[in-house]
């Protein structure tokens, strides 16, 4: 039973992996401070 649950969880992880690839999502991107917002938020323009 435990092994079956593990295999199911493993397959879920693999599908998340495929989904992440399809959407261009990277785990390393989570540690970046990139944020969407209105244009030029907090920046100077010349």
């Amino acid at each position: 039973m435990k092994v079956k649950m593990y295999i199911v969880c493993g397959l879920v992880i693999c599908s998340l992996f495929i989904t992440a690839w399809a959407r261009g999502f990277a785990v390393s991107g989570l540690v970046q401070s990139a944020k969407w917002g209105p244009q030029g938020h907090g920046q100077y323009h010349k």
Partner: protein, 534 residues
Amino acid sequence: MLSSEVKETADIPGVSDIKVGKGYDLAPMKTFFVDDIKEAVCVGSEGELPFKGLSGRKTVSVDLSNNAGEFACIEYAGQEGVRLYIGSYVDFSDLQFYNLRDLTANIKKIRSAQLFKCPSCGGPFSMLTPGLTASVACKYCGSTIDATHQTLSILCRAEKKIKIKPLIPIGNKGTLFGIEWEVIGFMRRSDESGQYPWDEYLLFNPFNGFRWLTTYKGHWNYVETMRLRPWKDRAGTDVKFKDRTFKKFLAGKAKVVYVLGEFYWRVRTGEVVDVSDYVCPPEILSCEGDSSEANWSLGTYIGPQEIAQAFGLAEMPRKEGVAPNQPSPYVPLSRHLSLSFLALAICLTILQFYFIVNASDKEVYRGDFTFNPGDAVRSIVTPSFDLPGGLNNLSVVLYSPLNNDWMEAAVDLVDEKTNQSLGFEHGVEFYSGTDSDGAWKEGDQISDLLLSSVPGGRYHLLVQPAGDPGKGGQKSFSLTLRRGVVMWSNYFTALLLLALYPAYVCFRGRAFEVSRWSESDLSPYKAKGEEGDE
């Protein structure tokens, strides 16, 4: 046992040369090891025999066995010479006797007919296995009685008035492994210090002989005397039996503390024997004996629920710790999880290779810029560029040929359709020099940042570079954007997640094994420092 006499006795050593445990070639290609050496006296005989089976006939009888299930018996009969018998152990059912007496009814009749008195206290008792019992422990005074002669004599008196009530009463019957067993004897033994006592129950079945149930800290073993003899590995510490390696668990002494009921040898309270245990869960091999005999027995771990069910016991003592041969629940689980992890890891790796092969990894923009850190902050607006496709990653590579300097850029990736921007900061720093150890360098002139799930569309960049205002002069840098690059963080994160549960089970399994070996002086988990201290 079924055997036949072997006439060639020229190679048989003399009785004074025989040693327990030593091997002798008694037949071509057959080596037998001595199990015990004893004086045998003929008690009586019936029917036809190839020699005079006179009552009182004395011989020195040597029992030998080998690891092929064969046994041998050498009989030194003084002036009659030496006789050698070689045979094998067989099950009673294999002999397919017929026309036998009703043994069960016969035993009942003998038991009811024979009543004895303890020569120490006069307490009455009857024997459960008349003819097979060698010693009986009186339940009144605790003395052990020699039952091998009609005139009963005391083997030893109880040293002190210990009264231990066995969990399974003497005379209780129970069915284990399809055979009905009767408890005929109980013994408590311990190591020499007395700190680690355990109990042993002698079981009897008229057609299957004797077995033992041993219990220690709530754990139980079903034990039988072995027919096949194990053989030691080259190092001499472990033994092999039926293609399985049994690791040495302990070597010490076992002392009889208390006895009750009947036994097939003359047991004495205080009797001490050498004992060595070897484990290969769920089995345990024990070698007990002294200079005159070495007996091997095989124990199989059995759950207390089975014992309770077999003998109708209401409550069983709680299990403490891990028994030496207790099967680990983590071993089969760990094996299956390892195979599953391997399969999933291979799938993941194949997927990763597919993504690598199919990654577009296309350069969508490259710009070279200059700025002066001493000047007021200004934004650089890049020309527009397209990010093809739907959602995908975007790699931003910042390069600047700095040395002993740093620079940062606040960047906005502006979506020209929605006017939303993705703001982030990117920087590089690089230092180098020489010291007494030679040339050194720190940092990098190039930095890579990965943006996740950036929608496709038309974009431009707003870049605000900054540097060390103390170091004036023009500084150059470049920004390169690549779309759909290979992502490794997802792969390693997924592998880590997949490995979590198998690693946990492995850890628990190891903790189980450490606990198993905690009561052994030969633990493979003992730290080298501890061994040194000892």
